[in-house]
Amino acid sequence: MDTIVSLFSSVVRMSTPILICALGAVFSERAGVINVGLEGLMLIGALFGVLGSFCTGSAFLGAVTAMAAGLLFALIYAFFTITVKADQTVVGIAFNTIAGGLTVVLYRVLLANSGVSQVKGFNTVAIPGLSQIPVIGPIFFEQSVPIYILYFLIPVLAIVFSKMNIGLKVRAVGDNPVACDTVGISVVKVRYMTVLFSGVMAGMAGAFVSMGQLRFFTEGMISGTGFIAFATVIFGNYTPLGVLRAGLIFGCASALQYKFQTSGSAVPYQVWIMLPYLITILALCLYHKKSNAPKYSGVSFSKD
């Protein structure tokens, strides 16, 4: 029983950064902006979360710093892709490269020789009452605060997406921006908003990775989670609830990977490390029915 509980509890933890990032990205993707730079944004969030926590001594302020950094970098991304109309894939790849270099430089200058090996991170908070429920309790209600916020965020974002005015605009803009323009929707504004939101979420997702378990930054620590989040949006058929389902599958793969690594089997551990990535590729190959994929994905909008 304990193995199962610890496995599923780990699934929840592993899914969290993927889900946070993908729930942000599902909005910008639906509005027609492809963000290949999620990986880079998460890396920046991971570093700035630790930096913020290091400077202020508060995990909360660390998270805020990470989100602010995500917002700022998303703003740059939005400027290049929406205003300047540069190719989204190229800018996204450039972002990942820059983030890879920038975080290493900042980390070595500011943190590596600071003598600190851990900052304040997200502590596990057992929810009184709920955490007493057998099996369910320890899996879902003995987690850290960002995970509880995520529980709350999933239904809220699902409602925003399908029932609210802003969600309707987002869904419409990616499918036919010209038509949106003729009914008076500002395509540029909607796209900016979604990219900024996605940046905040990616920043937070990065902070969760660095401040959740390790509570410190290591170079390249996101190691593909941003790309997995990107894949999650596609595999989740571009809806928040689809993203939830897909994110849990990828989270499962990650959790299993750690389990198998430590299980001492004859299979080299490198094989298990491949698991989440392998599943990502397989999922995308098998799942090519992209019925909700926006028609104008990656296409800049200009009026005349």
Partner: protein, 512 residues
């Protein structure tokens, strides 16, 4: 002062003038036509009124008040609605989501039920019922247009701009549309009706402003107009011969046989179901139907661009169902494809190069494997002269020519091959009257020479005028084959909408 006025409006795109000093004045409650050839600047002018574009010069007035329209939102607020030629709908959303999309009155959490109630009351009132909860991509083109009209009315439009509204409708649907237009003007709403079809303007409009090359020519009262010849002359700027002269001719042997042709596409949709007809020498067979009812697939199966799932295509007594394009062309089939820009020519190559794309194997074009440019250029210059292609010289890039001239060289290239069978799909779509008539005459000339012609068109007038035999397609099935003499607009319209002629009743029900 008139209700709506546009004064001295000009619009330049990168110094290309789309509108120059246009004046338009419209009274409340009238149906006002904007008549002009393709590229005359009708749509641009209306997009200025609707706020999609900004005029480079000039002023707009509504009810004596100066209008400042920055974007469509402003126009909607002033009670201006527009139904674009290419519908502005989001196919992935439901009808009601499309209706409320972007409205300022929307609450943060949408109340789609209340909106649907209001929408249904409205659609009831105008006799244009649409289920508010279905996805838009499930609607027929005719219903999508109704939705666009209702969407504008839902936003309280008092002035409704209809851009070429009849292009996608069957004659019966056009009747319904005209009824709605009359009902709207009776309520005091103003309609601006963009068209290049003279018949329709004579039928539904009160006034007509004619545009030519971006300028206003004249505004005329429609009841003062004698006949459509007069409107055509105004539109083109000189008298045009509208009537075609077609000789009476006995058709010869069968040269193309389409037998129970069925084509299933990648999405497992039957785009053609047991289509059967044949073509004789010296006969024009018109294929008529609303767009996307299997015409495109039929042509592709005949020319070898697609392979039929079942059935046979026999060209000159040889089964060519599975033959490749090259083989079919070599048998003497010429093809004027539906999409001039993507299928008929390569924009970044010169006219010279475009003209020899498929003729290189022939004698004279090449020597020892090298293109004989001297000979080719001379030959092509003659061809351009013969087919009235207006171009500075044959080394001009094909993409730089006007649509009419592009189509003329495509037609020239295809006819120069002396075809036994000519397959022409929308050969004059989007062309001005002059070019249209020219191409129609060329097709008739081919018929005189004994060529069998397959002509696909959505223009009923053209089909009825040119064809000897008319095949009506609906949803991939033949609704009936009519002789030119028996064809009327009403008959064709009903068949296009799915009514079967005696002898063409659905048999598949019994077989299933």
């Amino acid at each position: 002062m008139a209700y709506l006025e546009m004064k001295h409006v000009s619009k330049y795109f990168d110094r290309v003038a789309a509108n120059v000093d246009v004046n338009l004045s419209i009274e409340k409650g009238e149906v006002h036509a904007l008549l002009g050839e393709n590229g005359a600047g009708k749509s641009t002018l209306m997009n200025i009124l609707y706020g999609v574009y900004h005029q480079s010069e000039g002023e707009l007035f509504l009810d004596g008040e100066k209008l400042h329209i920055k974007d469509p939102k402003d126009a909607i607020e002033k009670g201006i609605g527009m139904v674009h030629q290419h519908f502005m709908l989001i196919p992935e959303l439901t009808v009601i989501e499309n209706v409320v999309l972007g409205m300022r009155e929307n609450k943060a959490i949408l109340d789609l039920k209340a909106a649907a109630q209001k929408f249904e009351a409205m659609s009831e009132k105008y006799g244009m019922h649409i289920n508010p909860w279905v996805k838009v991509d499930m609607l027929t083109v005719g219903h999508q247009q109704r939705l666009e009209i209702l969407k504008a009315l839902y936003r309280n439009a008092n002035i409704l701009i209809l851009d070429e509204p009849t292009a996608v409708l069957t004659p019966q649907e056009v009747g319904v549309l005209f009824k709605v237009i009359r009902q709207l003007t009776a309520e005091g709403k103003t309609i601006i009706f963009i068209s290049h079809k003279m018949n329709e303007i004579m039928e539904i409009c009160d006034y007509c402003t004619v545009l030519r090359r971006g300028r206003t020519v004249q505004t005329v009262k429609v009841s003062d107009i004698k006949d459509k010849q007069e409107l055509a002359t105004l539109m083109v700027g000189h008298a045009v011969e509208l009537n075609m002269h077609k000789s009476i001719k006995e058709p010869g042997n069968v040269i193309l046989k389409v037998d129970k042709l069925t084509y299933t596409n990648k999405l497992k949709v039957d785009k053609l179901k047991e289509v059967t007809f044949d073509i004789h020498e010296g006969e024009i067979v018109g294929i008529c139907g609303v767009d996307d009812n299997g015409q495109s697939e039929l042509i592709k199966c005949i020319t070898g661009n697609e392979t039929a799932t079942k059935g046979h295509v026999t060209i000159l007594d040889e089964d060519c169902t599975h033959a490749g394009v090259r083989h079919i062309l070599d048998k003497g089939v010429s093809h004027i494809p539906e999409d001039r820009h993507n299928m008929a020519m390569i924009k970044n190559l010169s006219i010279n190069e475009n003209l020899i794309l498929m003729a290189l194997k022939k004698d004279g074009y090449s020597k020892h494997g090298f293109i004989d440019w001297k000979w080719v250029t001379k030959h092509n210059q003659e061809l351009c002269r013969e087919y009235e292609v207006k171009t500075p010289d044959v080394n001009e890039l094909a993409g730089n020519l006007s649509g009419g001239n592009q189509q003329k060289f495509v037609v020239g290239r295809e006819l120069d091959r002396n075809p036994k069978i000519l397959v022409a799909m929308h050969p004059d779509r989007g062309l001005d009257i002059g070019a249209t008539k020219y191409i129609q005459r060329r097709i008739l000339a081919e018929r005189e020479k004994g060529t069998g012609v397959v002509l696909v068109s959505t223009e009923l007038d053209e089909i009825m005028e040119l064809s000897d035999k008319i095949v009506v397609l609906n949803n991939g099935e033949v609704m009936g084959i009519l002789d030119q003499k028996e064809a009327t607009v009403e008959k064709l319209g009903l068949m296009m909408a799915g009514e079967r002629m005696p002898g063409y009743e659905k048999e598949s029900d019994a077989l299933d």
